[in-house]
């Protein structure tokens, strides 16, 4: 029995899934072969290391985005009873969800624009009969500006909420939020500059909207944190604050 005879079965040998007689034959070879012993030991180490690869914590803002989209889709099947009329929500919780609505709308809008083939509008004749700039670039630029406006509107609404915190936020957490936002604002400025220099750049456009998305995420998380602190839910607040610390 040579190394080549058994090499394709070494993983099954390591996993213990070979028939007993075949496993015994391979065991006999491996014991006598330094190279095959090395391979077997490496495969065992790789398998062991893989088993120890644990979960990965997702970014803190993801739950808020999921919750916002679930709100849009409606609750799962409800039991047959009326919603208590006495339930009240602070106005700024609804503003946060409204911002999530804007975010989803813009996201869908952008996805549709990005995936649709660019088409020239039906009429593209410039005033005075002069040759117009390529209509597809201009049309796309206008739509891009509208999408930016939607994001900026959502961001402004969320910023207004976060600024009305009445000192409920821990100063250290507030500083982290400001630091995260400053980093993202730099990314927005850089992406805008790149897009201004090259309006056709998909990478710059994607980078700009990714930065907008991240900013909305940070602001949504901040609103949620304020909510938890007002409710007195320390563990909930700590969880969201930890997520903010990892986000930028």
């Amino acid at each position: 029995m040579t190394c080549a005879d058994i090499r394709d079965e070494l993983s099954e040998f390591v996993d213990g899934t070979l028939p007993a007689d075949r496993a015994a034959a391979i065991e006999a070879h491996v014991t006598a072969c330094g190279s095959c012993t090395g391979v077997v030991q490496d495969l065992e180490r790789i398998r062991g290391a893989a088993r120890r690869l644990g979960p990965i914590d997702p970014p803190g803002h993801l739950w808020l985005e999921i919750a916002g989209r679930m709100q849009l889709e409606g609750a799962p099947r409800q039991p047959d009873r009326t919603t208590p009329a006495s339930r009240r929500h602070p106005i700024w919780q609804w503003a946060g969800l409204a911002a999530a609505l804007v975010l989803v709308t813009v996201g869908v809008y952008i996805a549709q624009r990005v995936s649709a083939p660019r088409q020239a509008p039906a009429s593209a004749v410039a005033v005075g009969g002069n040759a117009a700039a390529p209509p597809t670039v201009e049309t796309f630029q206008e739509e891009l500006q509208q999408a930016e406006m939607h994001y900026e509107k959502a961001i402004a609404a969320l910023e207004a909420i976060t600024k009305s915190s009445d000192g409920t936020m821990d100063p250290a957490v507030a500083a982290t939020v400001q630091k995260n936002l400053a980093t993202i604002d730099r990314a927005i400025a850089d992406s805008r500059a790149a897009l201004n220099a090259n309006p056709d750049s998909e990478a710059a456009r994607d980078s700009l909207f990714e930065a907008f998305r991240r900013k909305v995420g940070v602001l949504q998380a901040t609103v949620a944190l304020m909510n938890e602190m007002r409710k007195g839910d320390q563990s909930g607040a700590a969880r969201i604050a930890a997520g903010l610390g990892r986000k930028s």
Binding site: A4, D42, R47, R51, P58, W63, P76
Partner: protein
């Protein structure tokens, strides 16, 4: 009340509890199967799909198992949508076993970060099989069913994935 029932009834905090409990493992799966850049969007889709399909959960497996299988299917569908040929792995197996008496084992220790980095270099098909089998503990029969391949293909591709990782990790040491 069971978490699934509370989620279906829209009980406050129920679906968030489901998310907090299972998102880290699912995010790990998504990161390793499709890459970090896409994993955030994919995780959202996994939970939104779970939200929509919760009425289909019959209780024959634990809610976590149902959710994880749904997540694994979403990851595989995502890879397929990106044109990954999961069942057509054409890379030739060029790893050779050195003759007896030559170099000792090249891998001294495997750092988690090194393994995640090496994992990212695998082709999508064999990476998916390695993640499902070695990281998540799926049997070859389950992997074959998920990917639409034969058990034997799953076993051989797992071996190729491990040997490629061995090579990648050895070059780092």
């Amino acid at each position: 009340m069971a978490l699934a029932a509370r989620c279906r009834q829209g009980a406050p905090g129920a679906f968030e509890e489901l998310y907090r409990t299972h998102a880290p493992r699912l995010f790990g799966l998504a990161c390793r199967m499709v890459g970090r850049a896409e994993a955030e969007d994919l995780l959202q889709e996994i939970f939104l799909t779970a939200h929509r399909k919760l009425d289909q959960y019959k209780g024959d497996a634990s809610l976590g198992t149902w959710l994880f299988r749904l997540g694994a299917n979403q990851c595989i569908d995502f890879l397929r949508s990106r044109g990954a040929r999961l069942a057509q792995l054409t890379e030739s197996f060029d790893e050779t076993i050195e003759p007896d008496g030559r170099s000792p084992s090249p891998i001294v220790a495997i750092d988690r970060l090194d393994l995640d980095r090496a994992l990212a270099t695998l082709p999508p098909g064999s990476r998916a099989i390695f993640v499902l089998h070695d990281v998540e503990g799926f049997e070859h029969r389950e992997i074959a069913s998920l990917l639409g391949i034969a058990d034997g293909t799953s076993k051989s591709q797992l071996h190729k994935a491990r040997m490629k990782l061995r090579k990648a990790l050895a070059s780092r040491n």
